[in-house]
Symmetry: C2
Subunit: 348 residues, 2 copies
């Protein structure tokens, strides 16, 4: 449709200037650049180098320039994405929006400049990047988070129901005082998990006690802190639901150190993205999310869309599953309590 020559004609300038403006090259005045970018946006300009269509999709982490902390969840997600794009013979490029995107550029222009036909967005914060990309009509799928906006394609996990099941599993074993150890950041996933916990208690007619809900960062250290805080109470819980894999591992580790026997003294339900639950002692009962499937399905749908094999919008919520292992059992006759975060005592 539109080309650099069309834009040049419309603005009465040369193609060279248009090209320079479009590629963030120096030697173009701010006003000219802005005019070019606006006209390009308005006329729906899409660069087609020669006319070659590239089969590349981008993976964007809007929040941070570089995703330094590549944990098990990100790794599994990426493995899925790589497999998913590979099906339709697409390649994957990491893009760094913060580093490379020009202020006056639209997201579409930015991705086009990078030669990307679509983009997978992994939002880690509250930035509205996914929404903005969707607003522009650029092919996109948001991974592992949902959105109210109808134009945002996304895939994520639904952990509310399974969290409810997990707590019901504890209730069924006879537990009545059940702690919740949850991530401090309230993304939709963690809100789900807290709601599931509340659903289960409400269903059993048990009042939620605020002092049995503790929050810390999602790390082994956070898990230790939450464990200690819960067990330091006059009436400690006999079971705890940790909503994050790393905090579960930290807590289990601390129990071994302190001589707290899991599940004899304390039942623990954790959360798992991959196969960490098999790597601990004891192997822990967990709400399991299939991170790889999230990446896989998102990448598959996006590449199908780009191949015109599908149309419309994509909004998938994958179920999680409850895997019962060795860390949950009947409540102890005497609950475990910690004095001064160290000495283990038993209370009736």
């Amino acid at each position: 449709m539109s080309s650099v020559r069309a834009i040049a004609d419309e603005l009465g300038i040369s193609v060279a200037t248009v090209s320079r403006a479009l590629n963030n090259h120096p030697g173009v005045s701010d006003g000219t650049r802005r005019r070019v970018l606006q006209t390009a946006d308005k006329s729906g300009y899409r660069p087609s180098v020669g006319r070659k269509p590239t089969n590349v999709v981008g993976l964007a982490y809007p929040g941070e320039p570089v995703k330094a902390d590549f944990g098990a969840f990100e790794a599994a997600l990426l493995a899925g994405v790589l497999e998913g794009v590979s099906d339709r013979r697409f390649d994957l490029t990491f893009v760094n929006i913060q580093r490379d995107k020009h202020r006056d550029e639209t997201f579409g222009q930015f991705f086009d400049r990078k030669g990307l036909r679509g983009v997978l967005v992994r939002s880690l914060d509250d930035s509205k990047v996914a929404e903005q990309i969707a607003d522009e009509g650029f092919p996109m799928v948001q991974i592992a988070d949902r959105s109210d906006r109808p134009d945002v394609n996304y895939i994520d996990s639904e952990s509310r129901k399974t969290s409810q099941q997990a707590v019901e599993h504890l209730l069924g074993l006879g537990h009545r005082r059940i702690g919740l150890a949850i991530h401090r950041v309230s993304d939709s996933d963690h809100v789900d998990r807290e709601n599931g916990y509340r659903d289960a208690l409400a269903g059993a007619g048990i009042q939620v006690q605020d002092n049995l809900i503790v929050r810390a960062e999602a790390s082994p250290e956070g898990g230790v802190m939450m464990l200690l805080k819960l067990l330091d109470q006059p009436e400690p819980p006999t079971a705890i639901y940790f909503t994050n894999p790393l905090s579960t591992v930290g807590a289990l580790h601390k129990c071994l150190q302190l001589g707290i026997r899991v599940p004899k003294d304390l039942s623990i339900v954790g959360f798992d993205d991959s196969d960490i639950r098999f790597r601990t002692f004891p192997q822990f009962t967990a709400v399991c999310q299939d991170a790889k499937a999230l990446g896989l399905e998102a990448a598959r749908w996006l590449t199908r869309l780009l191949n015109n094999e599908t149309t419309g919008s994509f909004r998938e919520t994958r179920p999680t599953t409850l895997a019962v292992h060795e860390s949950t059992a009947f409540p102890p006759v005497a609950a475990i309590r910690l004095e001064d975060n160290a000495r283990v005592v038993r209370v009736i």
Copy 2:
């Protein structure tokens, strides 16, 4: 220098056919395609779309179409690579050689077609892909493996000396029967670790016993199998060196299950790529490799090379370190032995 038109003139064909041949498009006879690719190779043809230089480097896993098993090591490596390419404002693209490379294409032609200026090669098998790429003079760095060939740039870890230290650490504690549990595949890393083990024993005047060296795959299950095999012997070892993180975790887990107290009954030295040694009980003494640094330095050097900030070759061998934690202690008075892979008995 060379262009599609030059190639077309030389072969007496049209530029359209040259372009089609160069891009793996259908509708070109095999003979013509081969002639075009050969002429392109001979004349040193490099595509320059428009004339735009792209700042993209590739990450290639030659062995498998898709790297499905994205463990902690790969994840840390990738985190380093992403950070490294970001310094010089490069992007990273995953490329799939097996899937996309045409038989008659050279590696350079293939990477050029993908718009890559350099490539990081993560060899997982014995394929000579890295050597072939280097032979063609395409900018490359091999990650986490070495090479005898002077034209292959590489970065890897040296674990022989630290493995020797680790075994000497056990010898210093008084251990005399020390087992080696090692990966079945003999890449240079694992050869290093076995040699370090042998060096230490030789230094202490202890004869290496073949039955104390066992091999299995690098997985938790492999670790369990190797543990059981070593402890099933009439004269079992009092300490074991596991040369892989996953097998270490599997073995430690099995010890907890069987009631073997580490380090009281059995000392274990493991291997760590990341921070797994802090996530087990007990935290284990380990030979530690900085996977992230491997990716980081490789990416940094390659992007500096592409920016003409450096020349020559790159061959870096990073040291590993011995981190002493809780899994090693004096040998027990009575060594642990397993009967029928299950019952724990003690032998004098």
